[in-house]
Subunit: 380 residues, 2 copies
């Protein structure tokens, strides 16, 4: 059987080993490394599918936990799956709900069977198991699915993380068995293990032994420092097979994207660009720009004079500031669009740098201009 | 001097006298009768300019009162005027602020000179006179401007309305003198007079004597019945010159649009389509459809199966309901888009009916299908 998801390694950067590649899905092919916009509830906040295509998104993420609770996976399935439901004919990736169960839900109770918890919407008692999560993901019909995992806190004890990693491996195996559509949906395993090298190794070995079509790296960007994250990536990505894609979950700051690529990561997602956009904060080549600040009230330049996105070609800081101050959601649409474009375009630049074997020079120039090299370096 | 705004009467419908025409502005020409989307704060809520063009909007309205208070007309002027500020190269119409002063502001005090009142945003004491309103409108730079008027309640006493109408005429004359850009901005007079035929006649005679390039009909759709409004239109439009456009302010329900056209009106505007859209209510050929209702949760038909708009071609009731229930603003974007298209497209159908001299048949069929002919006829 032909797998649903195929990865092709095109080239490794000479100095870092960063990977240029492409991922083939049932809904199109996209180049890696790349960034995925997040559409938690089957909508990338304020964006039309046409906007996402215009900015070059090849795949978007949606959340199993949220869609299971609302509108319910049965409704999405009856609609013909997530692609049809949302009017999106490119790739979709769904997480397993595990992360949300551990971050949003209340009073959870973890057992070998799964996790009992209460809905964050209405307090209803619910139970999620590997089989149930995969059942929901099969109904949603995304091109790439995630295994149901436990995402323990980064600074949890070694003993706890070891037990958790072993259970996550058993859950991954159960999910693989439960998966009904391997020809049309590719299921990824999620490597856990917090900051412990031997536990990451154990997790990776377990999962690679199950031969998933791709591997996610979970349990990072959950409060640890950027240095800690890079240290974990340094020893984790070499444990993963070269011929499968690697996805670093929940990471979206420009520095972390570049540093992740340098360590062999291919895929990223994060709500950061759209979340800060709703607060009037934008990413530019010169660093953060909080466009709602008063100093931009008569600034008729684009958000980022070096950016060629729809927003920067057509709107001024003064107009966007006005919209946000006046609670006009079109303002948030514009900042969201720009931020998503910024990260997607950053990854295109990173692809070019891999092609040209000058990724470290690119990193240095980008960090310098963005302000990461300053003493009070921007924290995203 | 060539006037900024020209109206050309193309044809009158045989049975009703309804007018098919076109209005030429410095930013394009559009056919009448037509409906204008409202962009109160320099943005039609949730809409990009590209969306408005796609749905066929030839001109949009923006509010002098709101833009004067925020961001300030000086900022819009420095941006190059409203068109550049908003990235909109078709027509723009600004009201004078009069209506908002009387509906939103607090503790107003009317004198011959103008109106003293407090800002609805921060309570600041402000004063608006005909000269000030025109100064702000000149700075905003819309293609069509409104005179500063008083909009008295419909059921105010005859004596009060008479004094108000006479003052509004004097204010119109002062505005005409204050107007700095008659070659690029067309200033309309606003006929007031509540429900009193002789006061409407007095107002129309005063204003027509000043030879405005267009005439608005104000003080309607402020709480009186549809029957009252039509009665006033019956005697008011014949008082206006045939070679100038007539604009019925603040009217946007489908029945009132059709009945206004039958009585000789060319232009309409209203926040109704976008306001009800934000509440999950849509206009369809079969009448109102409250898409957020539970009964649409598994309804995979478009909002209106007879509609060919972007929303109805691409999204289902079930998806739009999900978005609105989940507080995703893209849902409100979709209902807003559909409702605006519905009214713009309704006016295209009305134009065709004038062309074919069957406007009364069109009205009857539309009212029947929409549900206006039922005993509990929809109230919009």
């Amino acid at each position: 059987m032909e797998p649903a998801i195929k990865y092709r390694l095109i080239k490794k950067e000479k100095h870092t080993g960063a990977r240029l590649g492409e991922i083939v899905t049932p809904h199109g092919t996209f180049k890696t490394p790349m960034f995925m916009p997040v559409g938690t509830q089957a909508s990338v906040k304020t964006m039309a599918p046409e906007d996402l295509k215009e900015m070059g998104a090849g795949i978007i993420l949606s959340n199993t936990y949220h869609l299971w609770l609302r509108p319910g996976e049965d409704i999405v399935e009856k609609a013909g799956g997530l692609h049809k439901f949302m009017n999106w004919d490119r790739g979709v990736l769904t997480d397993s709900g595990g992360f949300q169960v551990f971050s949003l839900a209340k009073l959870r109770d973890i057992s070998e069977e799964g996790v009992a918890f209460k809905s964050h919407l209405n307090g209803e008692k619910l139970f999620l198991s590997p089989e149930k999560a995969i059942h929901v993901e099969n109904a949603l019909g995304a091109d790439i699915m995630m295994s149901f995992d436990e995402c323990p806190p980064f600074f949890e004890s070694y003993d706890y993380v070891k037990k958790s990693v072993e259970r996550t491996s058993r859950w991954a195996e159960r999910g693989l068995i439960a998966h009904q559509n391997p020809a049309t949906q590719g299921l990824f395993g999620i490597v856990q293990g917090a900051g412990f090298e031997d536990l990451r190794r154990q997790s990776a070995r377990d999962l690679v032994g199950m031969d998933f079509p791709g591997y996610s790296i979970g349990g990072l960007s959950v409060g640890e420092s950027k240095g800690e994250m890079n240290r974990v990536l340094d020893f984790t990505t070499p444990m993963l097979p070269e011929d499968k894609p690697r996805y670093l979950m929940g990471v979206g700051s420009p520095d972390a994207l570049i540093d992740g690529v340098i360590r062999g990561v291919d895929m990223f997602d994060c709500v950061l660009p759209t979340r800060i956009a709703r607060n009037g904060t934008t990413m530019t080549s010169q660093g953060r720009l909080v466009v709602k600040n008063a100093k931009y009230s008569e600034d008729f330049r684009p958000l980022d004079p070096k950016c060629d996105c729809y927003v920067c070609k057509n709107y001024t800081r003064a107009y966007i500031r006005h919209l946000i101050k006046a609670d006009e959601t079109f303002g948030i649409h514009l900042t969201s669009y720009h931020n998503l474009y910024f990260l997607i375009n950053l990854m295109h630049q990173v692809q070019d740098a891999i092609e040209q074997d000058n990724l470290l020079e690119f990193r240095e120039a980008f960090f310098e201009e963005y302000g990461y090299n300053e003493n009070n370096g921007r924290n995203f």
